[in-house]
Symmetry: C2
Subunit: 353 residues, 2 copies
């Protein structure tokens, strides 16, 4: 029987609770689908700071490299907010992304029909939304040098190399080929040289994908269009900081934010995590929604391990639970038949798969 | 009788049509309120390129400095899109902002009750929204040096000096004092040094305004919160590029995008313009909505000339026209009694003031 090594980073806040439910589901689906999962827990963020003094311990850097994929909960919380930059939980996450080389952040924003009323947007505007935001994750202004905080001024550098843009564009075009074959590349080429460069390289990559329809949009207009008519988008391709902003906006308009997963992939091992944060205010109460993490586990099976059937089973189970009216408290207002705890929701999905 | 010198930049696309209607209204209100307006037309953007070969002629730079305020329509269009960066219409506008020193871009996002159904958001989410986005306009990554487009890479610099942050923060706090005394400063301080710097200076300025409640939000979260619950915001204070993105998002959720004005002010002469673009696709057809430009003229009277009563008259006239069911085509779906052309709408407002 095939055995996969899964790195597990539970993290802070609700991280441990939601990851435990995802593991419950993975264990269940691996039995019915006939493969083995071996978990190795690693530290990151606040939990790592408390235990080792740094947000990204060397053991984690080495550990993830030996895995087939990494499942991650969430990090951060007020306890660690006032530490110096290099000691903060976020810095650990950024360092891990860089170390793992996960340059492609895939963030689907889709609407579950059952939750169409959960959005602040009108149902007719969002029903059927299915966007894949492809965000560059290990370059741009997040990592650009030089960067400095001085007495009288401070600065960061938004920089992209040809190779960095090319490889993320290739990921986006490959994904578009499996979807509706439309890419909207988002930049600010009317103001920024780095965006003009981005646009030229994306144009160049497009030549290898004659079937894909490529358009370009300025980031300010993209923010408007996402709100005005999100259904116009299929794949959105963009850089690190624009992707940070737009993917959050896209997921919020779906109204399904507690259910949305993400995948960060690159040349090596991939990192799979819910898009939401560590929600320290509700941690430990057993009321967190584990579905985004369970859905991230499904993305892991599909994209990292090639266990497509197992992934399908999980996705179906989530839909079934929703359509039968099972809801965690965060989405309890929308056609709920039964409000479940975090572990109850995990049990239901594990049972269905 | 008091006489003001108004610089008029009609620009491209629908620019000339909408500015003409604003002038019609200004002429009318100046008679009833007893002051004189002297207009001086100047060139910018595509119109300037066609006439002089450059998007920002020296006569415009000199001309605006002699005015009490500048009223501006919109620039740009496909005709000039493939010119080199330094010759593009946008470059002219950025140059003008810098030359005029208009570092504070005030972009109100508010909802006209009559148009509450025009938004893609649910009416209960947006009714009563009244946000003032205060965007830094002459610094940050828009103007930061060094910047370069090379063969293998390209980069821009996001930089702020203490003085640049301080003066825009002071503008925001002064505005907040006249509103609901709440400021949300938006940055990405968990990743960027320049944002950490921004945050520290804003904190420092806040000490002079003990009555104002200051909060901080990361830009990705701000994009989400604007969609989830825009009513939570009073004044949003942010840098140039974040402000570009968030102010467009904020105005789109209001559903009133064809009606929203903006003011760019600084140490000297202010620039007043609608937030929408030059809409080349409908230019010359007489169907453009002049209300955003008329509303910008009202902001000009209020903030640059101190003609508060005249400004109030215009604002009342706009509300009256809307509540009586007069609509231009762009908002014709929402409780319209009569669809007006651009000039008809101008006549109605000019008549009411
Ligand atoms: C926590 C933060 C550094 C991170 C980012 O900005 O990338 C987060 O917002 C995300 O999108 O994963
Ligand atoms: C046209 C463009 C350069 C400009 C900007 O980005 O500032 C516009 O989007 C705006 O917001 O006024």
């Amino acid at each position: 029987m095939k055995t996969y090594r899964i790195g597990v980073i539970k993290g802070d806040g609700i991280g441990p609770e939601i990851v435990d439910e995802a593991i419950k589901v993975l264990d269940s689906v691996s039995v019915t689908q006939g493969f083995n999962l071996k978990y190795e827990e690693m530290l990151l963020g606040g939990a790592a700071i408390d235990e080792t003094g740094v947000p990204l311990p060397e053991e984690t850097i080495q550990g993830v490299k030996k895995c087939d994929a990494v499942l991650f909960g969430a990090i951060g919380g007020p306890k660690w907010d006032n530490l110096e930059r290099h000691l903060r939980p976020e810095t650990g996450l950024l360092g891990l992304r860089k170390e793992m080389g996960t340059f492609a952040n895939l963030r689907p924003a889709m609407v579950y029909d059952e939750l169409v009323n959960a959005s602040s947007l009108k149902p007719e505007v969002i029903q059927g939304v299915d966007i894949m935001v492809v965000r560059e994750l290990t370059g741009g202004i997040y990592f650009g040098q030089p960067r400095e905080l001085l007495e009288e001024k401070a600065y960061n550098t938004m920089v992209y190399t040809k190779e960095e843009v090319r490889r993320i564009a290739v990921v986006a075009f490959d994904i578009a080929m499996k979807r509706n074959k439309r890419i909207c590349s988002v930049d600010k080429a009317n103001v920024l040289e780095v965006s003009q460069f981005w646009r030229e390289i994306v144009e160049d990559v497009a030549k290898d994908y004659p079937e894909v329809e490529l358009s370009h949009m300025y980031v300010d207009n993209a923010a408007m269009q996402l709100i005005r008519d999100p259904k116009q988008f299929d794949v959105i391709l963009t850089g690190n900081i624009f992707g940070d902003i737009l993917s959050d906006a896209a997921s919020m308009l779906s109204g399904s934010i507690g259910l949305l997963p993400s995948a960060s992939t690159g040349k090596g091992v991939g990192l799979f995590e819910p898009i939401h944060g560590s929600a320290p205010d509700i941690a430990g109460q057993g009321i967190a929604n584990p579905l985004a993490t369970i859905s991230s586990a499904s993305m892991m099976l599909r994209y990292a391990l090639g266990e497509t059937e197992a992934a399908d089973k999980i996705d179906e189970a989530i839909r079934k639970a929703l359509s039968e009216g099972y809801r965690t408290g965060d989405i309890g207002d929308y056609d709920a038949k039964e409000i479940c705890s975090c572990t109850e929701m995990g049990d239901i999905i594990a049972n269905y798969v």
